[in-house]
C-alpha cells in the first residue's frame, strides 16, 4: 500500500479543508516512534462528504484527531479556509475551532453525565457568547427538534437516561449548535444496532443539507459509508491505498486491499452462501511496517517490486486513484 502522492487533490482554491503530507507520531514505550498517520493528503470541498475507511489500527481515527488538532502533528499541513491549523496555538487555535467540530463513537461517554440535555446543547453557544438567553433557548429547541428529539420531553433529562442512539443525536445537536463548516464523525454508528444506525445516518444527512455542512466521516464499515459519501479514502497502516467514488469502489475496487474490504461485508442473502474470507491474519505492527507497499505481506498480487518500491497514488480511471503497482483490472 502505498501511498504517498497527491494526484487526487483538487485545485487549491476549491478546497474547504486541505490536508497535505500529514504525519502523526506516537511515542512507543521502547523509545521509538510509531507513525500512525504517515504522509497522508486529502481534501474536502464545500458541501462534500469524504469518508475514510480501514481496519482497526490503520490510523483513521488518528487522522481525524490530527485534523482536529487533538493530537500533535509531526509534520504536514491542515488548512481550513486557507489557514494552516498546525501553525496555530493557544487562543488563535481556539478561535478557529468553532468552524470544525467532531462527534465520537461512544456518544454516552462523550457527554457530561451531570448536565441536562438542554445545558449540553447550549454549552458551546454559552462558551462563545452567542445570543441572549432567550435566543439560545430557541436555538437549542430547534436543534433538538431537528434531530427528532422533543425538547419538552428530553430537555431536563441527563445522558444516562438515554440509549446510545439518542445520545448520538444529542451529540450531533451539540456539535452543530455553533454552526461549524466541517463536522468530523469518528465511527458515529459503529456501536449502534443496525436499525438505529440507519436513523443516525439519515439524521446526519438531513443536518448536512440543512446546515450546509461538509463531512469527514470515519468508519471501518464500507457499507455504512457507501450511500452517504461523495468520495471514499481507503487507509491501511497509516497510508492511503485508494481514493475513489462510492460507485467505483463498490463495483470495481482497484486496490487489492479495497477488494478484500468489499468482499468482507456481510451480505444478507443466504443464496450467496458462505464466502471465503479473502484477507487472512491481521495487519502487521505499525512500529515496523513492511518496506515498499505496506500491504504486500497480505496481498495476493505482491511481487518483488512491491517490496522494493513504494507505490504512488495515480489516477486509473476518472475520479479513481490507486497506490498499487499491480492494480486490479
Amino acid at each position: 500500500m502505498a501511498g504517498t502522492g497527491k494526484a487526487h487533490l483538487r485545485s487549491e482554491t476549491d478546497g474547504l479543508l486541505r490536508v497535505e503530507n500529514l504525519v502523526v507520531e506516537y511515542k512507543s514505550p521502547g523509545g521509538g516512534a510509531v507513525r500512525a498517520v504517515s504522509d497522508v493528503s486529502f481534501d474536502i470541498v464545500a458541501g462534500e462528504t469524504v469518508s475514510v475507511v480501514g481496519e482497526s489500527g490503520c490510523g483513521k481515527s488518528t487522522l481525524a484527531k490530527g485534523v482536529m488538532q487533538l493530537v500533535p502533528t509531526a509534520s504536514g499541513t491542515v488548512a481550513l479556509n486557507g489557514t494552516d491549523l498546525t501553525k496555530l496555538k493557544g487562543e488563535a487555535l481556539r478561535r478557529a475551532r468553532p468552524n470544525i467540530q467532531m462527534i465520537f463513537q461512544d456518544s454516552i461517554s462523550s457527554l457530561d453525565p451531570h448536565l441536562k440535555v438542554r445545558a449540553l446543547v447550549e454549552q458551546p453557544l454559552k462558551v462563545w457568547g452567542r445570543g441572549t438567553d432567550e435566543e439560545r433557548r430557541q436555538k437549542v429547541d430547534e436543534l433538538l427538534r431537528s434531530v427528532n428529539l422533543d425538547p419538552e420531553i428530553v430537555g431536563d433529562r441527563k445522558p444516562a437516561e438515554f440509549s446510545g442512539g439518542q445520545c448520538q443525536r444529542i451529540s450531533i445537536a451539540r456539535a452543530l449548535s455553533i454552526e461549524p463548516q466541517v463536522l468530523v464523525c469518528d465511527e458515529p454508528v459503529s456501536s449502534l444496532d443496525v436499525s438505529i444506525q440507519s436513523q443516525i445516518l439519515n439524521i446526519i444527512q438531513d443536518m448536512k443539507k440543512r446546515y450546509g455542512l461538509s463531512l469527514l466521516f470515519i468508519s471501518h464499515d464500507l457499507s455504512v459509508v457507501r450511500a452517504i459519501s461523495d468520495r471514499i479514502v481507503v487507509m491501511y497502516l497509516g497510508k492511503i491505498c485508494e481514493v475513489s467514488t462510492p460507485d467505483k469502489l463498490a463495483s470495481a475496487p482497484a486496490h487489492h486491499y479495497t477488494h478484500a474490504l468489499v468482499s468482507a461485508v456481510p451480505v444478507p442473502d443466504p443464496k450467496l452462501g458462505r464466502r471465503k474470507a479473502i484477507l487472512q491474519g491481521e495487519p502487521p505492527s505499525p512500529t515496523n511496517p513492511p518496506s515498499g507497499c505496506r500491504f504486500r505481506t497480505r496481498c495476493p498480487a505482491a511481487t518483488e517490486k512491491c517490496a522494493a518500491e513504494e507505490p504512488q497514488l495515480r489516477e486509473v480511471s476518472p475520479g479513481q486513484f490507486v497506490a498499487c503497482h499491480h492494480p486490479r483490472a
Partner: protein, 325 residues
C-alpha cells in the same frame, strides 16, 4: 435430527423499582444436534437475557425464570448453581461479545487457558499445556508458543476472540452459544471469525447458536433463524425461507435497514421509526404495531399468536407478508 437443547415457554422477568420487567415472554426454541441456529433482534429484544437465563447465569432474588430448559432431556432451570456449573464447558459453552472483559487481565493466556483443562478434564499440567497449544492452532492463531506467555491486553480484539473460542471448545461442548461474537470486531476480522466458527462446528459436530443484531451475519452461517422482538419470537424459519419469503413485517424492516454495498449514492437509509416498547409497561396488541407500516386497529388491540404458515415457517402477525405468492 433430535433435539439437543430446548427452551419451552421460557419466561424471564426482573423485579425493578418501576415494576415487573418482562425481558423474555414465553420463548420456545429447539436446537438439534449439529445445527446452527441464528437468533436476531435489536438491543433490548431479550436475546442475551434469554441465553444467560437458559445457561443458569442469571439467578437471584430479583430474577424470576419460568418454563423449561432442557439439555439432552435434563431440566436445567431447577438445577442449583453448582449443578449447572458441571455442564459448562463439557456440555454447553459460551463465547461473549467482549473478549477483553471475559478474559482475566492479570493472568497470562496459557495459565488461564490450562486452568479449565486441569479443573474440568483432570489433565496434568503438561498435558494441559500441550492441549492448549493444539487448541490455539485449531483456531488458527499464529505462534501459539509465544501467545501463551502474553496477557490479554497485548492481543488484538480478533486474537482475543479466537482465544475465547478456543477456550469455549476446549472441553468439546455439545452446544456452543456465541453472543454477538463479532460485534466488537472489524469487518475483515469478523469474516475470519465467522468462517472459523462454521469450520469448527463442522469439524467438531457441535450445535451452535449465534446471537446477533445483524441479519447479514447469520445469513451465510446458520441453518435456521429466529427473529426476536420485545422478548418474543416473531418469526422462525429456515434461513433460506426467512430471506426468500419473509412473512413478518418486523423482519422485513430489519432487512431493509441494513446498509448495503449495492445501494446507490444518496439513497436514504430505510430506518425503522421509533424504538421497541418499554419492557415494564403493559402493552395490548402486537408489540411491533406502533412501528409497523401495515398495522390496523386489530393489530393495536389484539395480540397475535405465533402461527405456522403450513411449512414449518412460524410468524406472529395477523397480516403476514407474501400472501398469495
Amino acid at each position: 435430527m433430535t433435539d439437543l437443547f430446548s427452551l419451552r415457554d421460557l419466561k424471564v422477568t426482573f423485579a425493578t423499582k418501576r415494576g415487573t420487567l418482562n425481558a423474555v415472554r414465553g420463548v420456545t426454541l429447539h436446537v438439534a444436534e449439529g445445527e446452527c441456529l441464528g437468533i436476531v433482534g435489536e438491543s433490548g429484544s431479550g436475546k442475551t437475557v434469554m441465553w444467560r437465563a437458559a445457561m443458569g447465569l442469571l439467578r437471584g432474588k430479583r430474577v424470576t425464570r419460568g418454563g423449561s430448559v432442557t439439555l439432552n432431556g435434563t431440566e436445567l432451570l431447577t438445577m442449583t448453581a453448582k449443578e449447572v456449573r458441571q455442564l459448562w464447558g463439557t456440555q454447553i459453552a459460551m463465547v461473549f461479545q467482549d473478549p477483553m472483559t471475559a478474559l482475566n487481565p492479570v493472568r497470562r493466556i496459557g495459565s488461564q487457558f490450562s486452568e479449565a483443562l486441569i479443573k474440568r478434564l483432570g489433565m496434568s499440567k503438561d498435558d494441559a499445556a500441550a492441549r492448549t497449544l493444539e487448541l490455539l492452532r485449531l483456531v488458527r492463531m499464529p505462534e501459539p508458543e509465544r501467545l501463551v506467555r502474553k496477557y490479554p491486553h497485548q492481543l488484538s480484539g480478533g486474537m482475543r476472540q479466537r482465544v475465547m473460542i478456543a477456550m469455549a471448545i476446549a472441553c468439546n461442548p455439545k452446544v456452543l452459544l456465541a453472543d454477538e461474537p463479532t460485534t466488537a470486531l472489524d469487518v475483515t476480522v469478523q469474516a475470519q471469525v465467522l468462517e472459523l466458527l462454521s469450520d469448527l462446528r463442522e469439524k467438531l459436530g457441535m450445535a451452535m447458536v449465534i446471537v446477533t443484531h445483524d441479519l447479514g451475519i447469520v445469513a451465510g452461517h446458520s441453518d435456521r433463524i429466529a427473529v426476536l422482538y420485545a422478548g418474543e419470537v416473531v418469526e422462525l424459519a429456515t434461513t433460506a425461507a426467512l430471506f426468500a419469503n419473509t412473512r413478518m413485517p418486523y423482519t422485513e424492516a430489519l432487512l431493509n435497514s441494513i446498509p448495503k454495498l449495492t445501494d446507490t449514492s444518496g439513497t436514504r437509509m430505510r430506518a425503522i421509526p421509533g424504538s421497541p416498547p418499554d419492557p415494564v409497561s403493559v402493552t395490548t396488541g402486537c408489540f411491533f404495531a406502533p412501528r409497523c407500516n401495515y398495522a390496523t386497529d386489530r393489530c393495536r388491540n389484539e395480540h397475535p399468536e405465533l402461527v405456522d404458515g403450513g411449512d414449518g415457517h412460524l410468524y406472529r402477525c395477523f397480516f403476514p407478508l407474501g400472501k398469495g405468492k
